[in-house]
C-alpha cells in the first residue's frame, strides 16, 4: 500500500525478527527496528535496517560527531554487543524452523488446556496472523491485574487499565474491537525458547485455579449466573 503511493514504510520488527521469517523485499520494508534482547541476544544493543535501493532511504543523523555509520549515527560502536547480536541472529536463523514448530505446539497446548478447564474465555486477535509463541486471552468476569497477582511467579502481562500507569486499557486491544470489559480481563502469554512443556502445564493449572477463585469473588460472574444480561445493566460509574 505504501509502496504504491511512494510512502516510506518503517516497521518495529523487534517481536518478529528471529521468530518468523522476515524479508525486507517481499515485505516491502524500507526501515526496520531490531533489538538484541528480544532474540536472546544481549540487552543494550539494537540495529536499524535502512534501505539503500529502490527506494533509497535517507535519515537524519540521530547524533552528530565523527560521522560514523555513514553519517547516520556518530559514536563509538558497541562491539561486544554487536557481536552478540550477530551471533543471536545466526542462532535464530538456524533454529527457526524447529523452534516455530515447538513454540506453536506449546502455545496451542496452553490454549487447549485453558479452554478445556474454563468456560467464557476468548482469544483476542487472529489465531492465524499471530506469532506462533503468542497467546492473548480474556477471562470473562475476572480483572487482569487481580489475575496477575494470583500467578505472580509467572511473567505475563495484561491489557487491563489497572496495570497501566495511565489507567487506560490497551489501545491495541481496543483497535482489535474489544470492549473495555474484555480488555480489562485480558492476559498476554509469550512462550520462550527455554520454556518446557511442564511449565505450560503448571501455568495452565495455576491460571485455571486463580480464575475460578476470582470468579467466586466476582459480582459480574454472580449476575451472569443469575441470568442477568450485563450489557443491559445501568452502572453507577464513578
Amino acid at each position: 500500500m505504501c509502496r504504491e503511493r511512494g510512502v516510506l514504510f518503517h516497521t518495529d520488527g523487534v517481536q518478529a525478527i528471529g521468530k518468523v521469517p522476515v524479508n525486507v523485499n517481499t515485505d516491502n520494508i524500507d526501515i526496520m527496528s531490531i533489538t538484541g534482547h528480544k532474540l536472546y541476544g544481549p540487552k543494550g544493543v539494537g540495529a536499524l535496517y535502512v534501505r539503500r535501493r529502490s527506494p533509497r532511504v535517507q535519515i537524519t543523523a540521530q547524533m552528530d560527531g565523527g560521522g560514523h555509520e555513514r553519517g547516520m549515527r556518530s559514536g563509538t560502536l558497541n562491539v561486544p554487543g554487536i557481536v552478540g547480536l550477530g551471533e543471536a541472529c545466526a542462532i535464530a536463523r538456524r533454529e527457526m524452523p524447529e523452534e516455530m514448530k515447538r513454540m506453536r505446539y506449546l502455545r496451542d497446548k496452553l490454549k487447549s488446556r485453558l479452554e478445556a478447564g474454563l468456560d467464557e474465555v476468548f482469544i483476542n486477535g487472529s489465531m492465524e496472523h499471530r506469532l506462533p509463541q503468542n497467546l492473548n486471552m480474556s477471562f470473562l468476569y475476572v480483572e487482569g491485574e487481580s489475575l496477575l497477582m494470583g500467578i505472580n511467579d509467572v511473567a505475563v502481562s495484561s491489557g487491563s487499565a489497572c496495570t497501566s500507569a495511565t489507567l487506560e486499557p490497551s489501545y491495541v486491544l481496543k483497535a482489535l474491537g474489544l470492549g473495555d470489559d474484555l480488555a480489562h480481563s485480558s492476559i498476554r502469554f509469550g512462550i520462550g525458547r527455554f520454556n518446557t512443556e511442564e511449565e505450560i502445564d503448571y501455568v495452565a493449572d495455576k491460571v485455571i485455579d486463580v480464575v475460578r477463585k476470582l470468579r467466586e469473588l466476582s459480582p459480574l460472574y454472580e449476575m451472569a449466573k443469575e441470568g442477568i444480561d450485563l450489557s443491559k445493566v445501568q452502572w453507577a460509574a464513578h
Binding site: 480483572e143 459480582p219 464513578h238
Partner: protein, 140 residues
C-alpha cells in the same frame, strides 16, 4: 507493582466474601463502578433494626488486588459499627491502612462509595417501611 503485605493478605485471604439476601428488609446493597472502568464492587450490610448495628457485611469485587483489598477491609470495619459510625469511614482511612500508592487511591474511593450506597439502600428500605399502607398504595 509492589503491593503492601496487607493488600496481599486481603487478596489471598479475603474476608466476608459472598452475598446476603438482597430482598431482606434489613439488608442494604450497594453496587458501584462499571465493567468498562475495570472496577465493580458489590457491598452488602445486614443491620439489626433495633440497635442499628451492622451485624454482618459481605462483598464481591471485580477489580485489581487493591480494589479487592479495599472492599474486603471495608466489610471488616463495618461489622459491629452502627450505620452512623459506618458513614464516618473515609477512603483516606483505607489508603493508610493498606498503604495504597497514589495510582490506587481511586480503589479506596470506590469502597467508600460502596459503603454509602449500601447504607443508602438500607435507609431507603427503612423509610418505605414507615409509610402507612394508604400512602404505599398511592406511591405504587
Amino acid at each position: 507493582m509492589a503491593y503492601s503485605d496487607k493488600v496481599l493478605d486481603h487478596y489471598n485471604h479475603p474476608r466476608n466474601v459472598g452475598s446476603l439476601d438482597k430482598s431482606a428488609s434489613n439488608v442494604g446493597t450497594g453496587m458501584v463502578g462499571a465493567p468498562e472502568c475495570g472496577d465493580v464492587m458489590k457491598l452488602q450490610i445486614q443491620v439489626n433494626d433495633e440497635s442499628g448495628i451492622i451485624e454482618d457485611a459481605r462483598f464481591k469485587t471485580f477489580g485489581c488486588g487493591s480494589a479487592i483489598a479495599s472492599s474486603s477491609l471495608a466489610t471488616e470495619w463495618l461489622k459491629g459499627k452502627t450505620v452512623d459510625e459506618a458513614l464516618q469511614i473515609k477512603n483516606t482511612d483505607i489508603v493508610n491502612e493498606l498503604s495504597l500508592p497514589p495510582v490506587k487511591i481511586h480503589c479506596s474511593v470506590l469502597a467508600e462509595d460502596a459503603i454509602k450506597a449500601a447504607i443508602g439502600d438500607y435507609r431507603a428500605k427503612q423509610s418505605s417501611k414507615v409509610a402507612t399502607p394508604a400512602e404505599q398504595q398511592s406511591v405504587a
